[in-house]
Amino acid sequence: MALLQIAGLSKSYDNETKVLKDISFNVKAGEFVSIIGPSGAGKSTLLRCINRMVSISSGEVIFDNAQVTSMKKRALRQLRTNIGMVFQHYNLVPRLTVIENVLHGRFGYKSTLQGVLGRFTEAEKEQAFYLLRKLGIVEHAYKRCDQLSGGQQQRVGIARALIQDPKLVLCDEPIASLDPNSSKIIMDHLKSITSELGITCLVNLHQVEVAQQYSDRIIGLNHGEVVFDGLNYQLTEDKINRIYGTQVRELITV
């Protein structure tokens, strides 16, 4: 049984142009899937339909046997608790400390009052430190996030997603703002989320090489349509050209 089923998903922001057109694919639990495609192809929109950060125009998204398309407040909150998200620009609260930002990942499980008072259990705090240690930034736990490098901030973002205890982690261009060294560290950590913790990962990328190196499976998106869906070795030169268009590819992959 697939963890995530997407069938006939379409999305339009303005009721005129379709950003996503009739997208269908399934993701099994424990898979590491990359979504590649040129800028504007609809990758970010696709991820945001899955945790309903944007509304779905038509079609079905089924996560863990629950119909996502029609979810209302309470169910939606429950859904989001089970899905972590990692962003290109980390999306931390820069003035707060690393540990505070990590613990933000627990709000989904808290009543409004508990959260506002900042009540976290010992187990939650221990888990936060455990994750920071695992990601190699435990010595920065009490530093403000704006004093960290980009790569370190992204690791805080990953810790925040993991402390949710999610079944799925969505990553929207997690390495697009990072240098090659930090990029490798981040990709290695994401890969180990799947291989060690068994958490499913869906990662938007625009570097084909990175996608090929890390993923089990690659989905190619162009103009809101799935133009490739296969295992990474099946992604041949000519398929890549179909995703990016022949000429632009050189520019995008540099």
Partner: protein
């Protein structure tokens, strides 16, 4: 920067300068303001200031009374600003794109902010005088209303600028609205907000003097009274005290800003 852009910039500057001169000349002509006469009046005016606006031994006796009134004015400004800030926080949360709950409330908040901001404080004082009469409530309300307008607008910008991305992330974790506001939006935009509040306190102390003349309260009233009885020595002392007070407040707020950032 290329040669062409530079050349274009130069032209733009020249044209702008010409337009400004033309407008100045035109408005002077319309209002019958004569630069030469204005300039000629300067030496006499300054001479008058130096001979009349002297702080004498005699006027210093009034100092305790003046400081009392000045205190009253300063505290009224602070009270008006801080209470307005509390209201503004709620209005700005309703009005900001990042944290708005629904379109109607957002419009409502923006409308209130816009109306109260675009009517000058002095006009508010005159309007409120009609219903509240000459007392300190009128002055307080005039400052309060103007400050709500300004701070709501400033806070909305601080919120949008500071916390859009964190709000997205926390929404995605399943956090509730109040989690997000309390643990992401406010912590991130608070320093900026406090900075605006300090700025508004400074501004309000200046406006309070003017408003006080109209409402017959505080240091403004004292100023008006001595001015009308032509006791210019005391007027000078009052002016001097206000200047010193404003400078001190400014130094304090600069210090607070530095510590906070």
């Amino acid at each position: 920067m290329s040669e062409k852009v530079m050349q274009k910039r130069k032209w733009q500057t020249t044209i702008a300068l010409v337009i400004i001169i033309a407008i100045t000349y035109l408005s002077a002509a319309i209002t019958n303001f004569n630069f030469i006469d204005g300039l000629a009046a300067f030496p006499t005016a300054i001479g008058w200031m130096f001979s009349h606006l002297l702080i004498t031994q005699e006027s210093l006796e009034k100092l305790p009374a003046i400081l009392g009134k000045l205190n009253e004015t300063i505290f009224m400004s602070i009270a008006a600003t801080t209470t307005a800030a509390v209201v503004s926080i709620f209005l700005s949360l309703m009005g900001s794109k990042t944290t708005s709950v629904n379109g109607f409330l957002s419009m409502f908040a923006r409308l209130i902010a816009s109306v109260s901001r675009n009517i000058p404080v002095v006009a508010w004082a005159l309007i409120l005088l009609l219903s509240f009469g000459q007392n300190s409530i009128t002055g307080y309300l005039a400052l309060f209303v103007g400050t709500v307008g300004f701070l709501t607008r400033a806070f909305m910008e601080s919120i949008d600028e500071a916390s859009h991305s964190a709000v997205e992330a926390l929404t995605a974790t399943g956090a509730t609205y109040f989690h997000i506001v309390n643990k992401a939006v406010l912590p991130q935009s608070l320093p900026q907000m406090i900075s605006w509040i300090l700025f508004m306190i400074e501004t309000n102390i200046r406006s309070a003097t003017l408003v006080g003349i109209l409402t017959g309260t505080g240091i403004g009233y004292t100023f008006d009274m001595y001015y009308k009885s032509m006791n210019y020595n005391v007027v000078a002392l009052i002016t001097f005290s206000i200047v010193i007070a404003v400078i001190i407040i400014e130094l304090i707020s600069n210090y607070i800003r530095k510590v906070m950032m």
